[in-house]
Symmetry: C2
Subunit: 297 residues, 2 copies
């Protein structure tokens, strides 16, 4: 029987959402508005791609993904905080995200900034608060280090800074590559590496997972940018063509949509090749790579 990627994604997504729902279901927490604001964006219909990649990476190393649900979920908190802050008036000034008003439109700018801060902080709390004996403490420290490095000024935040700066710069492929590698690929690669690190993967296996992550991270961003050009607002849940309106520097903007699609396809094939040393336990990763370029939102 062929591996069913849709069931796999649904199953893992449900595991992540179940953890997050339980963790954030403390209705008596005060001041309530900050928790409402955090939950609003955290449960706005995200696909949970990043945590699922961490789980699939851990499974590729022949482990049970139940071991690391909290650590995988914490990546989603960091992703959510980055969306809230990116949407702020002083950044991309977006009004719609996943088909709903952006966080600051609902809660105001101050609370949106603080909800982002709180989600980022809470991610590191969750990393440390749920420890299983199967995970070595030093491996968990390494995973936290990986996460912080990928999310910070040398990773995601640095990419967002360059993204803002690039709106008033001349387009160049170098700059697009820099933004992509930092803003999206760094965190996606970190998800793969965190799965491998927590599983105590060999150097070779970790290197393969890293290459897979870099390649699908790049492909994922290219597909996002193509969807922004080709998709409808309804499909995307955000205003289509908004990157172009803001003169965002994207890969399809520079090389054209046709060549961008070609590039994404190549990257996915290369990503799959990176996994050659893994057995069938890495099939979910192989299928996710294919899925990422087929998606419509």
């Amino acid at each position: 029987m062929a591996f069913d990627i849709s069931s796999y994604l649904l199953e893992k997504r449900t595991m992540i959402e179940s953890f997050l729902t339980t963790y954030f279901d403390k209705s008596s927490d005060k001041p309530s508005i900050i928790f409402e604001s955090m939950r609003y964006s955290l449960f706005a219909g995200g696909k949970r791609v990043r945590p699922i990649l961490a789980l699939a990476s851990y499974e590729a190393c022949q482990k049970d993904s139940m071991d690391i649900i909290p650590q995988a979920a914490s990546v989603e908190l960091i992703h959510t905080y980055s969306l809230i802050h990116d949407d702020l008036p002083s950044m991309d000034d977006d009004e719609l995200r996943r088909g709903k008003p952006t966080n600051h439109k609902v809660f105001g700018e101050a609370i949106a900034i603080l909800a982002g801060d709180a989600l980022l902080t809470e991610a590191f709390r969750i990393m440390t608060e749920f420890r299983k004996n199967v995970i070595k403490p030093t491996s968990l420290l390494n995973a936290i280090q990986e996460l912080a490095k990928a999310a910070g000024a040398h990773g995601m935040v640095g990419g967002q800074v360059q993204d803002i700066l690039s709106e008033s710069a001349n387009p160049s492929l170098d700059m697009v590559n820099f933004i992509h590698s930092r803003k999206t690929a760094a965190m996606i690669t970190a998800c793969l590496r965190i799965g491998g690190i927590l599983a105590d993967a060999s150097e070779d296996a970790l290197q393969s997972l890293t290459e897979y992550g870099e390649r699908i991270g790049f492909a994922f961003q290219i597909v996002d940018d193509i969807l922004d050009i080709e998709g409808t607002t309804k499909e995307l849940g955000k205003t289509s063509g908004s990157d172009q309106d803001k003169h965002k520097m994207t890969y399809p903007f520079i090389v054209g949509v046709g060549k961008a699609k070609e590039k994404a396809g190549e990257l996915v094939q290369e990503a799959i090749s990176s996994l050659d040393l893994f057995t069938q336990e890495a099939d979910p990763l192989r299928e996710i790579a294919q899925y990422l370029i087929r998606r419509r939102n």
Copy 2:
């Protein structure tokens, strides 16, 4: 010979600054503006009270504070991020901090938000990146958990949210206590606890350090609020009386300056009493408590 608190504070401050200077001295880091923005606020003349408390707490447990310089310094990154975000136009809208224009006045709002995000993230990276064999991995994980809990929605961020909400609320002592305990005391208490946790302190010792932290944390905030009323703008490095202008709910605002000074004095005495089970190794903590209410900025 009497213990010289000024030399002690200078020595520890120098140790912390030396670490931070080396860590952030990568002039080739790109995009450079985010690192400039981070450094601008990190080296704006902070007293480094929080890291020094972590070091003094570790020393009170008969350990060498050189072991935990990076972990103590990371608390300063979190403190600095919180000041940058608190000063933003959508929050307290402050123009002056430590005698210099606030971060967003110099770098713009987007970069200021991102510099705060990056400092917060980098704090967790530093916690994990510098490990000494004398620190147990599980103790380091516990310290990270402590830091994230104190800085997040149940701690400092929650306090800032309540602080913003309180500007339009009726003053009450309950609300002031809530804001104080979350916004300032939680992080100060965490510094003491992190020192104790990294030193593998006994339950009793950790409890004593916690009580000391809660008491000086509260006293520290009361003194800050009194200085805001009584101090000159020159002494403070920020506009004096600005809390009153913004209808900030403070302890002296509610009970009066005289009673507030009395309360701060009592808290310092209680903090010192909390340390009864410690020997002379806790003298720095005892002296710091006294120093905190004598200060003029």
